[in-house]
């Protein structure tokens, strides 16, 4: 297997051929924040948190392949500021109230905000009217918490193969929908597998009836599932 060598934040690291900057950095123990990225799903480069600087250009590390001799910076002042701004934009866009959220303590948005030092939001809160879909027996959807990372859309399409989820609308009025914008509980395609709930980074998709402390999103399991299918390694 061919290997390339690149510089990451001043240190030489190696990457497997075809590996993304994000994965090469992870292997080298460098953490790059992400929200839309999830192991096992097609990367979409949508949240822009994983932007890194390559020769002064900003590129999404989740979809950019590491190349020989590349000079990558993952945490310049500019990048750190952009990441904070992106998180603030997300907090201002919907109604994220951690104290009353089922995902409080188990939320990637909350974790990143703490990690990147977002202690206030400089933008106007948009306070959009958002619905909660509680029509499904086992799961719920709260648009107030959705960040449109489309992990649910991709996991349902690419791993479960049902393609129950999609996105409707445009711009900030975009909403994740089930089937042709029917209530989730009336979906004819949903297999109730729960992978979307596991994949969700925030409290937008949740198990009904669990208390806050019990509502766990198990994102690792998806990766295990993909490895199991693709490489025949079960019971990881």
């Amino acid at each position: 297997m061919a290997v390339t060598t690149l510089t990451l934040d001043g240190a030489l690291i190696s990457a497997r051929e075809g590996q993304t900057i994000l994965h090469a950095a992870r292997d080298a123990g460098v953490r790059i924040p992400t929200l839309c990225d999830l192991d096992g799903l097609t990367p979409v480069g949508a949240c822009r948190l994983c932007l890194v600087e390559v020769d002064g250009r900003l590129v999404p590390s989740c979809v950019t392949r590491a190349a020989e001799g590349m000079e990558v910076s993952t945490a310049t002042d500019r990048l750190r500021e952009y990441r904070r701004m992106i998180l603030e934009l997300l907090f201002a866009e919907r109604n994220h109230v951690c104290s009353v959220c089922v995902a409080n303590g188990d939320c990637e948005l909350q974790d990143l905000a703490m990690e990147l030092g977002v202690d206030h939001v400089r933008y106007e809160y948009l306070d959009p009217p958002c619905e909660v879909d509680a029509s499904h027996d086992r799961y719920g959807l709260d648009h107030n918490r959705c960040i449109l990372c489309t992990r649910c859309v991709r996991v349902c399409d690419e791993i479960e193969g049902a393609h129950t989820w999609d996105v409707a609308g445009r711009g900030t009025r975009s909403r994740v929908i089930t089937d042709l914008h029917q209530p989730w509980g009336e979906s004819g395609t949903c297999t109730s597998c729960g992978k979307c709930v596991m994949a969700c980074p925030t409290g937008a998709l949740f198990h009904r009836g669990s208390s806050v402390a019990e509502n766990i999103h198990d994102r690792e399991r998806l990766h295990d599932l993909v490895t199991a299918r693709e490489e025949g390694r079960w019971g990881v």
Binding site: C47, M85, L89, R170
Partner: protein, 545 residues
């Protein structure tokens, strides 16, 4: 069909010409101001006077001076052509009389020697308003598909790519990527299915260049695509037209069927092994679908959202196959380049920007319409001479080029030549060719807010900086315009513009801050004068509009 048959068809069309021809503009703008009724009335008047053997009515595309429509041109043997403006159905008898040699009284005659026409250099528009877009014979008489024949039987793929490369043609969709390089990249991809796509999703507010070309001379676009397909080794093509252009769609559809029937598209073109099938795809009204990767998603039947590049379409486009994607005007340049040669083309324009550019000139100018000028012409010539300057009682303040992705250039910089790099240096872009002139009554904060609202509404919602950033930018601009924004607002505005410009996924978001940044650069005082003063004496009265 072979070349002889093609020439025979063209000859018989030419032989059928009558001493007097009346050309009625039936492009969207004139149709909108009643050209359909004018056409019927003139046809009736010709029949009533028994002039059918001497006068022919031709239904043509855009005659360019759109603000004076409906336009009718009378070409009589032995006399100068006469272009009549603001023609009304009631004036049909006068036109018919004019066609028989009498003086046309009571109709406004346009001076064809005026700067509006004299300073233009039609290449893309050479047949616009001349040929009948719904009759292929008319296009053949004007030389359509001759370049395709030449390319097919004499130049060959490498020769064609060399010609296009040497011509210096750059993409007319706005970004200005060298066309020959793009073609060469697709041609070099391994053999297999390849596609040619024509981006006809023109969506900039105030832009109608591509629409006019498709409505007026559809075979030119088809011929350009066929030549491109031959050059890169593709046998399928798509024209992605926005659904808001029903007339362009109808005329392209007719043109495709006519060309197929004559063996100029489809299989075994000009009795050679070259096959090229073209299909239309109708956009459902999303500005973002003009972005090439979103456009291809839409053609594939998926949600029109951009994806990160690389991979570029030349490598992995439609259904993962190498795809050549060019704009309408780019393709429309090709037949002329192949016909006249690359040296002829590269002698027009400037060092870095060869050829001509079509602009849709609109806004606060006397003459608005479709304009094709050599690159390098100063903005002032376009606005003041071709456009005739500001209307009575007003003065020109700025010109907006490039639509929501472009910027506003103040009148003090109108000596700037129209070329890719010069416009970019001013924080604007060539864009696809929308050019909106503004006068002293236009409020630059309001203009910036208008374009930001457009981008906010048209953002696809995929990436965060564009989706959530444009909304915040719009709100900031709205507060500034209303005079309720605090003193530090411009700093926040600029910081967010910086994020949206540099962190967005596709061109829509990356360019969305341009109207704000360019108005901030040249008209900063209009922003500053509205901020609430730091000593807290409350909001100032908003500047009256």
């Amino acid at each position: 069909m072979d070349l002889e048959e093609l020439i025979a068809l063209a000859e018989s069309e030419r032989a059928g010409r009558l001493p007097v021809e009346v050309r009625v503009c039936l492009a969207a703008s004139c149709l909108g101001s009643g050209a359909g009724g004018v056409r019927d009335a003139i046809a009736g008047a010709i029949a009533d006077r028994g002039l059918a053997g001497r006068v022919r009515l031709r239904e043509v595309g855009c005659l360019r001076l759109c603000s004076e429509g409906p336009l009718v041109q009378v070409d009589s043997e032995g006399a100068d052509p006469a272009l009549y403006a603001k023609v009304d159905a009631r004036l049909a008898p006068v036109i018919a009389s004019a066609a028989s040699g009498d003086p046309a009284e009571g109709i406004r005659l346009v001076d064809l020697g005026s700067p509006f026409f004299a300073l233009q250099r039609p290449i893309v528009l050479e047949n616009t308003g001349v040929v009948e877009p719904e009759r292929i014979e008319s296009s053949l008489a004007a030389g359509a598909y001759r370049s395709l024949h030449h390319a097919l039987h004499e130049l060959g793929p490498e020769g064609m790519i060399a010609e296009v490369t040497r011509s210096g043609l750059r993409g007319r969709g706005g970004a200005g990527y060298p066309t020959g390089l793009k073609w060469a990249t697709v041609a070099k991809m391994p053999p297999g299915p390849k596609y040619v796509v024509c981006n006809a999703d023109e969506g900039d507010p105030g832009a109608f260049m591509d629409r006019s070309v498709m409505e007026s001379d559809p075979h030119r676009v088809l011929e350009g695509m066929a030549i491109a397909a031959l050059a890169v080794g593709a046998d399928r093509g798509y024209i992605y037209v926005r659904g808001e252009y029903p007339l362009a769609i109808a005329r392209l559809d007719t043109a495709i069927r006519q060309a197929r029937r004559l063996g100029l598209l489809g299989s075994m073109i000009f009795d050679s092994p070259f096959n090229f099938r073209v299909d239309l795809r109708i956009g459902a009204g999303a500005f973002v679908c003009g972005e090439e990767t979103a456009l291809m998603q839409s053609i594939e039947g998926r949600r029109g959202q951009p994806r990160p590049r690389p991979p570029y379409p030349a490598e992995s486009g439609l259904w993962g196959c190498p795809t050549l994607i060019n704009n309408v005007e780019t393709f429309a340049n090709i037949p002329a380049i192949i016909r006249e040669g690359s040296d002829w083309f590269s002698a027009i324009g400037t060092e870095g920007s060869k050829g001509t550019k079509v602009f849709a000139l609109a806004g606060k100018v006397r003459n608005s319409g479709l304009v094709e000028v050599p690159m390098g012409l100063p903005l002032r010539t376009i606005v003041d001479q071709i456009g005739g300057g500001a209307p009575e009682g007003s003065t020109t303040k700025a010109v907006q080029t490039g639509g929501p992705s472009g910027g506003c250039i103040p009148s003090g910089l109108f000596d700037t030549p129209v070329e890719y790099e010069a416009l970019k240096a001013l924080g604007s872009i060539m864009g696809s060719g929308g050019m909106i002139v503004m006068d002293q009554d236009d409020d630059m904060v309001g203009i910036a807010r208008f374009f930001m609202k457009f981008c906010m509404d048209e953002s696809c919602g995929k990436c965060v900086p564009c989706r959530a950033g444009t909304v915040q930018l719009y709100r900031m601009l709205d507060r500034i315009e209303r005079g309720v924004a605090p003193a530090g607002e411009l700093g926040r505005l600029e910081a967010l513009c910086d994020l949206v410009k540099h962190a967005s996924l596709c061109g829509l978001g990356q360019a969305a801050p341009n109207p704000v940044l360019s108005t901030l650069r040249f008209f900063r005082h209009e922003y500053e004068s509205r901020l609430v003063s730091p000593d807290g004496d409350g909001a100032r009265a908003p500047t009256p509009r």
